[in-house]
Symmetry: C2
Subunit: 227 residues, 2 copies
Amino acid sequence: MHNKRSIVLVSGGLDSCLTAAVAQQQGYEMAFLHVNYGQRTELRELKAFKDIANHYKVSQQLVADISYLKAIGGSSLVDRNMPIEQHQQLPGTTIPSTYVPFRNTHLLAIATSWAETIQAGTIFIGAVEEDSSGYPDCRSDFFSTFNQLIDKGTRPETQITIKTPIITLRKKDIVLKAITLKAPLHLTWSCYEKSRKACGVCDSCMLRLRGFKEAGAEDPIPYVSVR
Amino acid sequence: MHNKRSIVLVSGGLDSCLTAAVAQQQGYEMAFLHVNYGQRTELRELKAFKDIANHYKVSQQLVADISYLKAIGGSSLVDRNMPIEQHQQLPGTTIPSTYVPFRNTHLLAIATSWAETIQAGTIFIGAVEEDSSGYPDCRSDFFSTFNQLIDKGTRPETQITIKTPIITLRKKDIVLKAITLKAPLHLTWSCYEKSRKACGVCDSCMLRLRGFKEAGAEDPIPYVSVR
């Protein structure tokens, strides 16, 4: 494995954009992985992914489609018959409808197969524990168990480590650190509902806007509503 | 969760056919999951899957496509530029080229997301440790680690257990048990190379044919070559 070759999972949102900035700052060669899973704002997220990849001059890009998750359903992110909660208070005590069952396992499985093939020794994922709406697959012990699974399920000589460099940060600190590292926040997209201007009221927009507000910074992307 | 509702991973081969027979014998309600990953004999395997599902009158069927594994490459099963070894002696000391990096993680991730959605408490997978060509993700401790991952990565109330009822069996015993349970072996497909008549010489055919020979039984599917 190449110790300084990495795969960065880039959804196109704030967190993954900062994660790429951290990987670059730490001197990693980066390959970018984006996963479509039939989410409502799939094309807008893909554009954000490509824009961020171009910004960091990342030539190795893989876009994987796991739209079978749409056939499985069970989440308002992919199932149009389920409403998305708005103005949800966080940290939540219940798991929100936007939870896609076991989603991060799919993302990390793809990243691991790719890493084993291109001999990348590190996978970066921008999971955030505290602000992650209570999704069970965003917690530290999920990722450490996945590291064990990699040890068990890959070639003996394969050494791949999952890194979650922003997992303990709050959105405020994510915004501040992204600004410090000159991450291209104007290229990111977070909204679960809209693709031209962000809705400003979905769970993801609320978290993002609160982060910018607490950081005392202006969010550079357009919104539908006046906040 | 429904204790007696299960998902059975059915590739269409001997092992998964027996696994379905075992699940049925143990009184489980079955939903069948098949995964296409761009393997050479994809359509033939899908036919076997549907034939076995019809045999067991399984109405809940899901076919998931993970052909991004083909884009990732790294295995002769999906990469036509890599030759498939023939007449490989088993148990092998090296991992064969047909190893698809981390493949079972993808299959189990899909099964788990579906299980959480339809509230199935059990996932059956027909992995076989001794005869599995040394694939690292076919061993018992891989599956027990995956069980831990399910605990960490799903809703607190979710209880899903992976069962590998034939993992300790050799191919001879698989054939014998399948015959005892009246599993529809004539509907199965194992060959990695051909789709009309099995090649008889690839790794998978060799294992299968040896199993029938040692069991003193006739393989009911057609082969290209005289053995």
